[in-house]
């Protein structure tokens, strides 16, 4: 039976459930914004949303196009500056950082800079933006992305944003704030975490109808599969209604 929701709607609802009420989240453009806005309209009304250009604690009316858009400081607690909010991250105030990604490796290192050689690129991508800062300085980083073999890579061409770098202890050795790092990856196939001992990508849950084979087939690196794998909850009718209310133009959620 064909589900009555889209993969994007599922991604948004699964992502939103990871955010806790009364905590802070630093969000990037697109699905991360939708997920945070949905959380605020459902289980986490007191979620503190922070945007990198200076929006602090807004009640976002509709999906912003940009993380600096005036919607990001609509009825906000403060309209501040990048220095202010990035310093809040560095000082430990931000529980969750929420990012999109083009490519990722087994340790959660992200590439959004270049495909091929840096100085002679096959394809040039936008670069870090605030991603390196979010992935370096927030306590827990959540990544939303499309999963394909060419995106879940043994080795990324360029580490734009740090995951666990080369494995356990590598972040602290590099000087990154202690106790930080990637926490979850959400793709159209499933929800992943990181193995405590090896810091490698580990499957936590599959989306309804997805098999373990599909999870592995769509990754170049080996994904750790625990004995017990959960299945995610499909979006409810109310969640779907809210998603389209949040993004009436269908910019990120689709039509």
């Amino acid at each position: 039976m064909k589900p009555n929701y889209t993969p994007t709607e599922l991604l948004a609802t699964v992502a939103s459930k990871l955010l806790e009420d009364g905590k802070s989240v630093f969000v990037g453009t697109g699905l991360p914004m939708i997920a945070a806005m949905l959380a605020q309209r459902t289980h986490a009304p007191r979620l503190l949303i922070i945007f990198e250009a200076g929006g602090v604690g807004p009640r976002v009316p509709v999906l912003p196009i940009s993380v600096g858009d005036s919607r990001t400081f609509y009825q906000a607690a403060a309209a501040s500056s990048m220095h202010d909010v990035m310093s809040l991250c560095q000082a430990g105030y931000i529980d969750y950082g929420f990012l999109g990604a083009a490519m990722i490796d087994r340790y959660g290192n992200i590439n959004t800079t270049v495909i091929g050689e840096h100085d002679h690129p096959q394809a040039r991508l936008p670069g870090s933006g605030g991603a390196n800062d979010i992935g370096s300085l927030c306590w827990r980083t959540i990544i939303i992305m499309r999963q394909e073999k060419r995106r879940f890579l043994q080795k990324v061409d360029f580490i734009t944003t740090p995951g666990y770098l080369t494995g356990p202890g590598a972040r602290e050795k590099a000087g990154l704030p202690a106790g930080t790092g990637p926490y979850r990856i959400i793709t159209q196939l499933g929800l992943y975490g990181f193995d405590e001992a090896s810091k490698r990508v580990k499957l936590l849950a599959v989306h309804p109808g997805v098999t373990i084979e599909q999870i592995q087939e769509n990754s170049e690196f080996e994904i750790l599969i625990p004995d017990y794998v959960e299945t995610t909850e499909p979006p409810t009718a109310e969640e779907r209604r809210l998603l389209h209310e949040i993004d009436p133009a269908g910019m990120a959620i689709g039509k």
Partner: protein, 338 residues
């Protein structure tokens, strides 16, 4: 301090702090004087070929597009630009051949709208070079070090990544904690353009909404060109001095340009012109199309007022105001294609 690692990126916009103090002492007037001029005069006077430029605002928000279009109209060459989430500004300046070097935190994309055909083509064919990488926080902290008159500032981002390897930063052992820490070099752009809702004839400027990094950028800039939606009486500024984000002595030129951020967003005043941005994204898919865009919207027109007529005049500007104030729904051509 022991240097542990050094990035290989080109060091852009750095000056020895004493050299910069001397430059400020000699070149930045502390005199309260009328600085009004046209955007053509400001660009002609303060933007030499080869300069290192930066725009205030962020992405498509509160960018001085009047200045950007004028740089293109005057066919400036070999500029280096700060890609501090530089989106439409960088894309058209690279596409027009004015900028051929970029230090990149974020460029080559239009956020949710997709990637930039013109500037990506320029980088992928070698017409434009990325001379260094960094992140958004790193860029604004470089300006913070500049405004503080310091040679560098220690931070905890970039560490462990290729973004660091291609940056102009260094990693040292922090003498206090003993942990590795990133040192970002100060950055003083040659010319900065900031668009604000209002200022007086001397350059005392207010900003409504987020300041983004314009507080730091305005103070690190060597030359600062201010474009404003409206020039207001000095008394209005001095009635609420706590609202002044940029005081007059930082400013070299004041230009009144209503709608001067179009097609970008001016918070509380007008929304992004998605139709226009979409037209550029479509036309710039080929070099011929990009040329056609510049002929239509820049070279073929006398000035920014002619441009405002060309993009749809009062009817369009009124619509953008309604969208910004949540009174009309947004329509975007880039949403239609699949």
């Amino acid at each position: 301090m022991e240097i542990l690692l050094e990035g290989s990126g080109e060091l852009i916009g750095w000056h020895d702090p004493d050299e910069n103090r001397e430059w400020v002492r000699t070149n930045k007037s502390r005199d309260l004087k009328d600085k009004r001029m046209t955007i053509a005069e400001a660009v002609a006077q303060y933007v030499p070929d080869g300069a290192f430029i930066a725009c205030g605002g962020f992405g498509h928000i509160r960018v001085s597009m009047a200045a950007v279009y004028e740089i293109i109209r005057q066919r400036k060459k070999h500029l280096t630009m700060a890609g501090k989430t530089a989106v439409h500004d960088a894309d058209i300046l690279v596409g027009a051949g004015c900028v051929d070097r970029l230090e990149v935190a974020y460029a080559f994309g239009h956020e949710l709208r997709g990637l930039s055909p013109a500037s990506r083509r320029a980088v992928e064919t070698g017409q434009c070079r990325v001379v260094a990488e960094l992140s958004n926080a790193a860029y604004q902290w470089r300006f913070l070090a500049g405004m503080m008159g310091l040679p560098f500032i220690p931070t905890r981002n970039l560490l462990g990544t290729d973004t660091f390897k291609y940056s102009s930063a260094k990693v040292v052992k922090d003498p206090f904690s003993g942990k590795p820490v990133c040192l970002l070099p100060a950055c003083y752009p040659d010319v900065v353009f900031v668009h604000v809702p209002r200022c007086d004839i001397y350059g005392n400027a207010q900003v409504d909404g987020i300041i983004i990094e314009d507080f730091e950028l305005a103070r690190a800039a060597r030359r600062l060109i201010l474009t404003a939606e409206e020039i207001v009486p000095e008394s209005e500024i001095r009635r609420q001095p706590w609202r002044t984000v940029i005081p007059f002595f930082l400013v070299d030129a004041v230009v009144e340009v209503p709608y001067g951020s179009h097609p970008c967003q001016m918070p509380y005043l007008y929304f992004f012109d998605e139709e226009h941005i979409g037209e550029w994204l479509r036309m710039s898919k080929s070099p011929e199309g990009a040329k056609e865009y510049f002929d239509k919207y820049v070279y073929g027109l006398k000035d920014f007022n002619d441009y405002l007529d060309k993009i749809g005049g009062l009817r369009k500007l009124q619509y953008l105001k309604e969208v910004e104030q949540l009174r009309a729904p947004m329509v975007a051509p880039w949403l239609q294609k699949g």
